[in-house]
Symmetry: D5
Subunit: 117 residues, 10 copies
């Protein structure tokens, strides 16, 4: 089954919908391109959420992150866009997305966006 | 005394029932099978609880975790099922079960389910 | 001056009774015997308290912990008993005793008991 | 494009103004001069903020920190001045600036200043 | 300029009196004598405070800590005395002093005293 | 493509046969059964080798390790057997296999077997 | 000055050719594609060399590593190819290239290739 | 099967006698009594050996270490005695025993004894 | 006594000239300017030497490193120049100078130069 | 039994004189005075030796180190003097003394002196 980068996020039915529980997904292999210089950026994306009716399917989330590989993306914007896309796909009770980006010019940057708090 | 994997959880009488205290059990040798690919998954199960009338007997908990060794189990489901089984067996005042699963496809996943909070 | 294991805890007068301050005592050399198998158990006992009229004398606390060396002791029970003995000896404003016990059967256990919270 | 140290901070329009999210910038290469002895001081400056209408542009922040390289600066004062300058430039909803300075005379010092809390 | 151990603490005017900010001073080279055995004790003194009208001058604080080098000092007492002396000298809005003392007899001790909370 | 545990190791042609270089493979998810008690054992298998005409194919090595999941295996024996099987399959110039097994009865064990040194 | 991924490595004249000294370059942001699945791989490339007449220019080495971003590359092959390209470009007295690749299928791999030893 | 502390070390036949391989056993729960003060000492015993005709059986080694629990033992002597007893029981090709003992009086001690080097 | 950056290194007479012993000096606060971009570089300079007739005076070495603060310096060159200057000043039996420079463009660099080996 | 700082080192008879084994003593609570400024210095003294006819008695070594508390001592000199005193007292087969001293002026220093190598 060939895999392709894709912005489509798949979900599956929450197996325990009657309970508020947390899921934390850590993806340390995020890479995109700097929109200003065109050079690669690297970082770790962490998603922390309380699922609503549906959970995020991990393989599709991997392909989703892959889809940023050749795209330009500002740190502040991409972290919020990932949050928006995940919220739209899975309608979580609440969700936090953290983008922790590698040192550039001696400075590292982290962006933390929340939905439903 | 031969040991066997078993879903039966044993408990013993809480020796200090008049006080709300916490017990934290950390089991870093949990393994089950992925229901999709059939391949082994690995993780750490942590149980944090305030005991009610009974405490969880550790040897039976070890055999209980062993019982997942050849079973298919989704991360989100198995963490909640362990919580349900422990709550049914020991009726704790409150309990958290955390499943912290190893990297698959460059992504690691943690599931945190709570009862009685 | 010969030292002997002893269950008697000595205390001294709190030198600053007008202020609520914390004292944290960490004893990583606790050992007792498993009441089921008779084999040695090992762990770290941590005491965190706000003193009342009296403070716990450290040398007597060391001899007190030593007194468990050849005694059978369940994790849940011994942590609560240490708390009870310290509370009786020193009447703290509040106190937490934590017993953090080494891996047995691939599982480690921590017990956290509080008084006065 | 030649770079110069500069006290002018540039900002850009917050790409997600409708959501309160956090940005954390860590700059471990801050250096200034001790106003008393004239000798170099070293530290890490961390900025944690919820952006208002505008975000801090990272390259200009790097040049801003560089501008302290040959200036005398007391720890307590410089941390607050950086906060003041960033607040004036970007009008954040809230912001914390932390200056964590290296050991001098066997003692290390951290200064934490907050705006909007 | 010869330096001498001294109980006199110097202060300087708070450069940003209109804002509640924190200063954390970490001094890992504290040593005094045990009042019972006369032998050296070692520990780390940490001061965390919100300055009032005046800040603690670091060089004088170093000489102040040095003044305990040949003095007998109980852990519980010396931590509270340092807090009292700093409060008297600088009238902070609030202050915490922590004394974290090295292992003696297999046991380590930490004392945490607060003013103004 | 369904995966199955298998003792068959696949290899591929060494892409740089003219140079002595090292390959280090670290597999922290090894599990077998204790031949005495029947209970699960866990450990990390590390293979360090200089390839001869052929290199070890990683996916088949994963399936090979999986084949021990329901087998009894003594630490000393299984480490040497893995070395023998890898040597037979790939004829390396030299190879070290290390089995680093988890704590049992308060004791951890590591076995290091070498070929061609 | 726009940057582009490029296989051309630039060098500069060794400023101290009369002395055998070592240079260690660590590049933790290497990424290529798996030639079998097409999915991204990630790793750290470390180069350790004693320069001959010329040293490796770091900016061009960054662009060189970038050139693998959309290329298929086996771990064993790419590590040796990087060594070959660097040796051809800079004629070092001796050089080691290490590729330390992230976990795939629960297994991580490191390849260490040497020239001139 | 009741367990008792015992100085008798059991061994089993080396399953791979034709190869020189290493076995490392780490036992962090060693405790004995100080022959001078009678108070408990604690440490980690590590055994590193190349087996001869026989290997050390781990359960009996655990009971062997337990046998020191109520015995007086100087660090230098006990490390060498453990080496002597293991050499006599298993006739290793070579063996190192390390005793790494906890801080006493602000000083920690390690003893490393070798046989067959 | 005002301090100034200075290229003059002071030395003092080796107090134990009859014995070959090592001195290791670690200076994590080195900063210079990039000769290409003019921007600040940061790193740690470590000196490891066996003294000959004279030892390096530490205060003068601090002022010596300070003298690079506003100078352009390539990593490879500055590490060798520091070695040359120290060798000329102190005539050590042997000496290693290591420059460990911070990440630039996702890549960190270390230079290790030796004299007398 | 009152303890006093003392330059007299006591020894005891080597319990296993027929074997060359190592003893490592780590003392992280060394403090003396800087001979230039008179201010306290702090460091860790490590002694690594193969005993000859006699071993170093630890309690007397503690009192010996204490004897430097109010003495001026240069790093290079004191490390060698401790080695000389220990060699004279215990006539070891070989011995290394390491003095690892805390940061002063942003620079830390280690001195390593050997006898009998």
């Amino acid at each position: 089954m060939p895999s392709q980068p894709s912005k489509e996020l798949e979900t599956f039915q929450n197996p325990h919908p009657g309970r508020d529980y947390e899921i934390v997904i850590t993806a340390p292999e995020f890479t995109s391109l700097c929109p200003v210089t065109g050079q690669p950026d690297f970082g770790t994306i962490t998603v922390n959420y309380v699922p609503g009716p549906r959970c995020i399917e991990l393989r599709s989330f991997k392909l989703y992150l892959w889809s940023y590989r050749q795209e330009g993306a500002f740190y502040e914007d991409v972290t919020n866009r990932i949050l928006n896309d995940l919220v739209e796909a899975a309608a979580p009770v609440k969700m936090t997305v953290t983008g922790d980006f590698n040192v550039r010019g001696g400075i590292s940057t982290k962006v933390i966006a929340r939905h439903g708090y």
